[in-house]
Structures are given as C-alpha cells and as structure tokens.
C-alpha cells in the first residue's frame, strides 16, 4: 500500500437493518499511525461501523476504503491485513493461552520459524506467561481481554480495530494496554477504537462522537474540551445529593454531574460562581472547595449527548 494513502477513509457510509438506520452517512478519514477513538452511547452504531470496516458486514449506502482496499469489492484483502478485537472475541475455553495464540498464528499463516518466538513475546506482553498452561476457561475477564488482544495482533497487522478492548480491565492493566497501543501507533500501526472509558479516549489523537448512527463531533480531545460551553467548577462538599438538587434548579447552571466524590458544575458564565456559592450557603451546603477546572471528556460526552436528546422524543432510550 502507498504510504500517502489514508489508513481508512469512509464516504457517506451507511447501514440499515430493515427500517432501522444503524449508521447514517458517516464520512471521515484516519491517517496512518493515528489512534482514532469512536465514542457514543450504547446503540449509537459504533460496532456496526467497525464490522463494516473490517469487511464482515456490507454497507447499504456509501463506501469505505481500508488500507487502500474497497470494503465492498475487496473484503478478503482487508480481513487478511487487519487485527480485529471485539468485546466478545472468540477464545477457545478448552485451550491454554499459549494454544489460543498459536491457533490464531496458524489461521493468519505466521511462518512456523517465527511462531515460537512471537507466541512467547505476546504471552509476556499480555502478562500471561505465568498462566500459559492453565485453561482459558478459568481466566478472569481482564486476562481474557489481554489474551484476545495478543491473538488479534499475532500477524502484526498495520490496522487495528478495537471494539471496547478494555471493558472490565483493571486500571493498571488498562494503562499498560494503552501504552502498548501507543507504541504500536508510533511504529505506524493505525488504530480505530471504541470505548466507554473517557480516560482511554484521552489516548486518542482524534475522537469521533456518534449518536443515533450519525457523527455529531470530530476533533482532538483538547479541542473538544476547549469547545465545551460555559465554565466548569469542581465542587467538594459533604452533601453532594442536596447540592445537586439545589444546583439543578439554578438558571445559570447548564449541567451538574457526579464524578467520584466530587460534583462537576457547568455554569453559563464565570459570573455565576458567586450565585452558586450563595445558593449553596442558603440551602445549608458546606462548600469545602469550589474551583474552576478544565472539563473532562466525560463532561463533554454527557453534554453532547444531552444536547442531541433535547427537543427529541422525551422517552429516548439510553
């Protein structure tokens, strides 16, 4: 493939299932070596998108090219050259981790002279060297995800599709996982990943936000944060529930959400801070700390989804 060609390019890509439009006219491109994150609520069309781009599912409208190949006409060429890891990656429960990786090495025709060393290095990467001979059945959720990744990259694909790769994985492993993806991208591997975990989204060079099948935002994490409207304040107080209900009634407050033990308060302008303090004091809320902060990607996500929902059917699912 020509180095100047984008790793991935879609043009009004669409897919319907009967009357249901799972993906509608989505256009974007991923340059080589980029980590691109696809975010959105459950049911927004992210998985359908990945299945089309991996050559598993035909589009019903538009088209896309992956590594220069046409997803409608050359799906087999694409399948050979990509790594695909989904939430329900097929691992053989009755095989050991080592046997699972060898099995995928076989499917992808990794030369037998290289196979032994590659399986060993992947076992080490996945932190599974100590469990190489246990049955996969007994592995915890987090370990299974790591084994699935090892299987998905055994043929060293130049393009990786990751569908919620670290769902249920612990924070330390999650970080190690992304450091690895980061390193692979540094070597020119292109990555398209979906995640519900906003800390992971921060690892992406750019983010596409999907809602009900369409792309509603496309920018770098930094840019998305800067474009977040109003001012954001962190509120630390002993009565977060009371504070939340007080703040929700204030006209100057666009949004309130709980983050761990803190509340994130989205005010229209900086001038609303004094009003917020006054209202909280009146309601008897002790404010330990109220300080300005940059919005997190979670704030951005919630804001974008709520904005889309406003004015729509009030009983929209989520």
């Amino acid at each position: 493939m020509n180095d100047t060609v984008d790793a991935l390019e879609t043009e009004k890509l669409s897919r319907s299932f009967g009357h249901f439009q799972a993906v509608r006219e989505v256009s974007f491109a991923v340059p080589r070596g980029e980590i691109f994150g696809l975010l959105g609520p459950n049911g927004a069309g992210k998985t359908t998108m990945i299945r089309m781009l991996s050559g598993i599912l035909l589009p019903t409208g538009g088209n896309a090219h992956v590594l220069g190949y046409d997803i409608r006409r050359e799906p087999e060429e694409i399948k050979k050259r990509i790594g695909y890891m989904s939430q329900r990656f097929a691992l053989y429960n009755d095989l050991t981790p080592r046997e699972n990786i060898s099995f995928y090495a076989d499917i992808y025709s990794v030369p037998s002279s290289e196979r032994g060393a590659r399986v060993e290095s992947l076992l080490a990467m996945a932190g599974l060297a100590g469990h190489r001979n246990e049955l996969t059945r007994g592995l915890s959720g987090g370990w299974r995800q790591r084994l699935a990744l090892a299987c998905a990259i055994v043929h060293r694909p130049p393009m990786l599709f990751l569908d919620e790769p670290t769902a249920g994985v612990d924070p330390v492993s999650r970080r190690e996982f992304w450091e690895l993806i980061y390193a692979m991208a540094g070597e020119g591997v292109s990555v398209l990943a979906t995640t519900h975990y906003m800390d992971e989204a921060e690892y992406c060079n750019r983010i596409g936000m999907m809602y009900q099948g369409g792309l509603i935002a496309l920018a770098s994490p930094d840019r998305l944060r800067r474009d977040h409207p109003g001012e954001l304040y962190l509120l630390d107080c002993p009565e977060p529930e009371l504070a939340e209900s007080v703040l929700r009634r204030m006209p100057g407050v666009i949004g309130v959400s709980v983050h761990g033990a803190l509340l994130h308060v989205n005010a229209r302008t900086a001038a609303d801070k004094t009003l917020i303090e006054a209202e909280l004091a009146k309601a008897g809320v002790t404010v330990r700390r109220l300080e300005q902060a940059l919005p997190s990607l979670e704030d951005v996500f919630i804001r974008l989804v709520e904005r889309e929902r406003e004015g729509q059917n009030p009983a929209v699912e989520n």
Binding site: N42, L135, E164, H196, E202, V258, F301, I302, E317, N318
Partner: protein, 316 residues
C-alpha cells in the same frame, strides 16, 4: 454487631490452577452500606461474589449473607439477595414486562404483590415506557437496567453486583449510579465490584483484593489518607519530551498519563516531592520546554490503586 455480609477465612482452589483464587478472604459489611470490591484482574472479585451469592459452594472457611450461612442454608440466602453476574441472562424473546414477571415468579414474589412490585421496578429504573419491548431489542444500557430491575423485584435486603457498569456508556452509567444511590437510601446493603475507580470513590467502604485476599479495607478517604505517597501533576510541551524526562527522573515511584498531563507519585518523606519538582523544572528549562502545570495534587482512588498494586509487585 450483625453484619449483612460476613466472610471468614474463605479459601477457594480451582482444579488445575497453580494458586488459590481466594486465600483467607475475610470481609464484614454492616447493613445499609454500599461496599465496593476492587483489585487487579484475576484478584478473585468474581469468585468471592459467586460464593456470597451461593452460586459456588466448594470452599473452606465460612460466609453468611443476610444472617444465613451460604452453604448450610443457601435457599434462605437466595430469597433475601439480588445477584447480577457479569453476564446475566435475560430472555431476549420475552418483553421487558415478561422478563420481570419471570424473575418475580422465580424469586417467590406472592402472586397478589407481583403487579405492584413490577410496576415499582419499572418506574424505579425508568423502563415504564418500554415495558412491551422485547429484551433483545433494548440497548446495552437499558438491558443493564432491566437486569437490575429483575435482581430487585423480590425486594432483597442485600444486592450483589459484579461489574454492572462494564460496557455501559457514561450517560447510562450515571443513571445506573443514581438508581443504586436510591437502593442504598432504602436500606439495602450493596456489594459491588468495579474496575472503575471513580465508582469506587462513591462507595461507603472499599475492599481492595490482591491475589485472593483483602489487602485494604476502609472508607475511600481513610485508605487514600493512609497512603505514604504524594502526587505531582505535570504538563509540559512537547509531550513526548515531557514523558521522556519524567520516566528518566530518579526517585519517581510511578507515573501515569491522565488526559494530556502526567501524574507522578513520589515518596512521602519530607522534601522528596519538592526535590523532584525542582529536578523537573531544571530539566524542562534546559530543554527549552514550556511548562504549563507542575504542582502537587490531592491523591485519588486511582492513585491508591496504582500505588498498592505497584508496591505489591515490587515486593514479589
């Protein structure tokens, strides 16, 4: 004091596994508490929850839930708990209402109380407008809510949830927690496992599991307060050079990216954080880099997790 959940020296060994999944696992949870179970992958969280939910009964040691022994009296435990495993089974061809009915019947809700309990659960989880929809046609977040409604339909005193928010988007996750806060307010004891530290921070008590036993237990504030480390937040550009310099700085206990910043762990002893901050300032200046943030920050639950796992791994 009577605990809602109490486990004493539970040991569980799976056939073929080198190490036991649980070793002397002990835990006591007072009634009405929201308790979180966290720990690295494979630490034994799911195994512990399965034992407490009476799904698995081959272990040594003892455990009682809602006042009954999980091995001697599993029936009494079962009728008093709601359990949501990681992969729960709803019937995709049945509607929301039919699924709820099935679980109400299965869990022995008396016939005359069923409609009222089911309606309450639909209201509670916001599923009322969707009661006629097939469960298979619900989105991921709604399926979780239905599973939660099914686990709560018989009004259990104890609720056991195994990673309920895995695979759920941030908006639905927020709603799930709003429902949970309501459940706790009604006096139900909740034991929940989670890989997300912002969720752990919302629990009354946290138990941290490591290799099958409870390493730490306490309120999030207690546990974070006891940690013998301080934290620096660093943001400088270019980013790659910042990482390089931080990684090579001697004395740093751990580091991790958080957004476009790095969070750096230093020892608690006097002056160590200041020493590292000065070192970084000098390094950044020498390289002609722009420093945007270089300041001490309050530790969070995720810092505690990284610290604890790191300390354990260095020990072994």
């Amino acid at each position: 004091m009577d605990f809602a959940i109490e486990a004493k020296d539970v040991v569980k060994q799976f056939r073929g596994a080198e190490a036991p999944a649980l070793r002397n696992f002990s835990l006591a949870i007072p009634p009405g508490t929201l308790c979180g179970l966290v720990g690295p992958d494979g630490a034994g969280k799911t195994t512990a929850l399965r034992i407490l939910a009476t799904v698995s009964n081959s272990f040594t040691g003892s455990a009682t839930v809602a006042g009954y022994d999980v091995r001697r009296d599993p029936e009494s435990v079962r009728s008093r708990i709601g359990y949501m495993p990681q992969t729960f089974s709803l019937y995709p061809d049945l509607t929301v209402w039919e699924n709820l009915f099935f679980f109400a019947e299965l869990n022995g809700v008396p016939k005359e109380r069923r409609p009222e309990r089911m309606k309450t659960m639909l209201e509670f989880t916001g599923l009322t407008p969707f009661y006629e929809r097939r469960a298979g046609d619900l989105s991921g977040g709604m399926k979780k809510k239905l599973a939660l409604a099914c686990a709560l339909v018989h009004d259990p005193r104890v609720l056991i949830l195994d990673e309920p928010s895995t695979g759920v988007d941030p908006v639905s996750r927020r709603e799930l927690w709003r429902i949970l806060a309501d459940v706790v307010r009604r006096g139900v004891t909740v034991l929940i496992s989670t890989p997300y530290m912002d969720e752990a921070e919302r629990c009354h008590r946290i138990g941290m599991l490591y290799q099958g036993s409870v390493l730490l237990i306490g309120t999030p504030q207690e546990l974070i307060g006891r940690m013998p480390s301080r934290f620096l937040e660093v943001k400088a550009s270019p980013r790659k050079a910042m990482r390089q310099i931080v990684i090579q700085t001697p004395g740093i206990l751990s580091w991790r990216p958080v957004g476009d910043r790095l969070r750096v762990e230093t020892a608690e002893n006097h002056g160590e954080l200041e020493r590292i901050r000065n070192h970084l300032t000098d390094q950044f200046r020498e390289q002609g880099m722009t420093v945007e943030i270089l300041e001490e920050v309050k530790p969070m639950m995720e810092d505690l997790f990284v610290h604890t796992v790191g300390a354990q791994e260095r020990r072994s």
